[in-house]
Amino acid sequence: MAFQILLNVFLGFLWMFFTVSYEPVTFLKGYLLGLVIIFSFRRFFQSRFYLLRVIAAINLVLLFIKELILSNISVIKLVLKPKLDIRPGIFALPTVLEKEWEITILANLITLTPGTLVVDVSEDNKLLYIHAIDIDDVEDAIISIKDSFEKAIMEVSR
């Protein structure tokens, strides 16, 4: 991915030198033309066309913000409810992610999800120990959310 971006910047500079005008707009034009070139030569690269990964990363950031707002609403509900009928507990969640940064992002995402907080990661990076604020009704729903998170992270790293 980094190689494709570097190549694209290089093509942008090449366009600036072709047209003998050193404005940012010319660089932008060259960058867009280079984007078209890289897209048409995408089968010669090892990884995917890099714009797809950039879009996936933007999706991940939007998912982060959405989850942060949802989790705040759920915390407000819990705090302002007069009766304290929560049932906290710690459960283990197996993960298929392997690289360290993927697990870090997943843990951050889980911490910002409604009602969950990562307490520990097992030493072989296979299990995440998660403290849930309401264990009985949330667990199934949360596991399905995790599937969507893992999918979104894998979409970026693939």
């Binding site: 942060l68 989790s71 705090v79 304290l84 906290p88 507990g89 283990a92 907080l117 403290h131």
Partner: protein, 118 residues
């Protein structure tokens, strides 16, 4: 136009202050370290972020001053505060702080036990 933006700024700052208040209430109300951490690490994050966003918009709209360091502050808080919540609860667990009313607490306990045997 300016009026609408002013209302948005006021909303951001009021929501931020309200969320910080809710976080403080949660810290007082919840029974143990972990549930308190839920309130502190989520509500305080979004509260401070939205106050900073309101401040940024105020100085940009009213004074025409684009303060990028405030935006950097938002990003830094967004990245670091879940990590801080995780570290505090992990340190609490590893130094043996008990949970409150447990239901499925055994997962991590079993793992710790099997590690001790080996």
């Amino acid at each position: 136009m300016i009026g609408i933006i002013n209302i948005i700024i006021v909303l951001f700052i009021i929501i931020g202050a309200f969320l910080s208040l809710v976080a403080a209430f949660g810290v007082l109300k919840f029974p143990d370290v972990y549930t308190r951490n839920h309130a502190a690490s989520k509500s305080a994050t979004l509260g401070v972020m939205s106050i900073l966003l309101g401040t940024f918009l105020y100085f940009y709209v009213e004074k025409g001053h684009f303060d990028s360091s405030v935006l950097l502050g938002i990003v830094f808080i967004f990245i670091t505060s879940p990590v801080a919540g995780h570290l505090i609860s992990r340190a609490a667990y590893n130094s043996g702080v008990k949970l409150w009313d447990k239901s499925v607490q055994d997962d991590l306990k079993l793992a710790a036990k099997s590690k001790k045997k080996n």
